[in-house]
Amino acid sequence: MKPDLTTTIKGLRLKNPVTVASGTFGTTDEYAGYVDPKKLGAIITKTITVKPREGNPMPRICETTAGMLNAIGLQNKGLEDFVEQKIPYFKKIGVPLIVSIAGESAGEFGKLAKTFDGLKSVVKALEVNLSCPNVEAGGVNFMKKQERILDAVKAVRDQTDLLTFAKLSPELGDVVEIAGKVLEQGMDGISLINTLRGMAVDIRTRSSRLAKDFGGLSGPAIKPVALRYVFQVKKAYNCPVIASGGITDANDALEFLIVGADLLAVGTANFVEPRATLDILKGIESFCVKEKITNLDRLRGSYRTADTGKGK
């Protein structure tokens, strides 16, 4: 029998828990030749900002051990273009859309939230990006001052009753503590984790292999860190969590499910294997069949902690 993978987050019903991490699935149909997007539980968009952004100079990409650094810098054509040019595409394909938003100020976060509140037939949730490592205003450095995070999430909450997820990174400070505070401000859930800032040096030129000194590390290299934070936040608040960080195959996805993740956002793996999301979905299904799990919620959060678990 086919296991029931339906994932419900505060009334939002998704056919399965597999989605894509912001910025890793193109702007619209770049992967449509490989993946039928309708098969995904949801799509998380590339981060949208109020004004268009050119992003950072090249090189923006560099491979590192079991992962990569990126310094894209939130390149996007801005809110107006997204609403006019991209929303119709997502409306047509009819997949629940989670829009990732980033502002340079609380006012911009509010404006973005208000705009998408008016598009509820297509947009089902917002991911509030508070932790981009590659931009100044609104980026991870800027947001280290906690009142800025709280102002941003308040501004979002004031403008919309859409489901909202705060995307956090350990670079902001104590993730578990910050998660608690943004939930108090009315965020519905947490998205964990954004990329971690790292470096790579060209020993010949003694300069960065990126056009900037730092980039955001993603891929299998950060998976254990992501898994730990998903576990900790889930344990502390039992709130909805979107997990991302190196999910490459079904085993990775199952680990995140077991520690309680609600959604599994496949990121850098899309760049390597365009069908990664569907392979992962299939792998989760076969695991459930093999383990006689009829409903995914039986597996979700079934982790046995090391201090109380049996046989660990």
Partner: protein, 256 residues
């Protein structure tokens, strides 16, 4: 409508070192060899593990029926692993990706300027299309592609070596200027691929003499399909993606 693209597991037919610089790898695939234009590329998954993680882009070097060849240099960890592949090993390959060079040029005389990673796609183009000149720049004779690899090239190949050990002594761009001087620039069309500095000089020469042309302008890529926005190129119309909007751009469109 999104392009239907192929992603296949292929079996290595041969993989051998052909000179001091290049390895040649061959495999068969019907889907990956269909309608390929020189300048298009493949994304090759070097290993199934998680490190190295990303695919590597390689230009098509030759397509004969279903047989596809790539010519590559060992430049890092990924290509070092690739160079160890044996006949019968498998690779996952996506393609054909990107936009290739213009093949039909009407009455224009095609001059190709290649260096380094630009040699394979331009040799491929010189096999497919009528070419007035194929200019290849290398450091020395050691890196010159063996004559048996150039049998199907429809023109004489002119070499420029920095140490003078083969052909013209000096940079290939100096050789190009000599070639241009002998021709009517209005009749020429340049197509180039290779090191950044070389292509910049080629484009500067084209502007100086009023010659049209195309450059395969790549940047470090992750996805190869236009999703990650890692490989942007500055053009007159703003930033474009090397992998999906290029890698071949008209000289006049590039904002250098």
């Amino acid at each position: 409508m999104a392009k239907k693209l192929s992603d296949e597991t292929v079996t290595v037919l041969e993989n051998k070192k052909i000179n001091g610089k290049y390895y040649k790898l061959a495999f068969l695939s019907a889907a990956l060899s269909k309608g390929v234009r020189p300048g298009q590329f493949l994304q090759v998954l070097i290993n199934e593990g998680k490190d190295p993680y990303l695919r590597r882009p390689f230009s098509y070097y030759r397509v004969t029926g279903r047989r596809i060849e790539i010519l590559y240099e060992v430049l890092g960890r990924g290509t070092a692993i690739l160079s160890q592949k044996k006949k019968g090993d498998t690779l996952k390959v996506m393609g054909p990706l990107g936009n290739g060079f213009t093949v039909a040029l009407g009455k224009k005389k095609r001059v190709l300027i290649a260096g380094g990673v630009g040699v394979p796609p331009l040799v491929f183009l010189a096999e497919k299309a009528s070419v007035a000149r194929l200019l290849i720049g290398t450091k020395s004779k050691l890196e010159v592609v063996p004559q048996r690899e150039l049998k199907k090239v429809k023109t004489k190949v002119l070499y420029a070596t920095e140490d003078g050990s083969c052909g013209f002594r000096g940079l290939v761009t100096a050789l190009l200027e000599k070639v241009i001087m002998k021709e009517d620039p209005r009749e020429l069309f340049l197509q180039t691929c290779g090191p950044r500095r070389m292509m910049e000089v080629v484009i500067a020469l084209a502007r100086k003499y009023g010659i049209e042309g195309e450059a395969s302008w790549d940047e470090t890529m992750a996805c190869g399909v236009g999703a990650c926005l890692g490989c942007m190129v500055k053009t007159k119309d703003g930033l474009r993606r090397a992998c999906a909007d290029g890698p071949v751009f008209r000289f006049e469109d590039l904002a250098l």
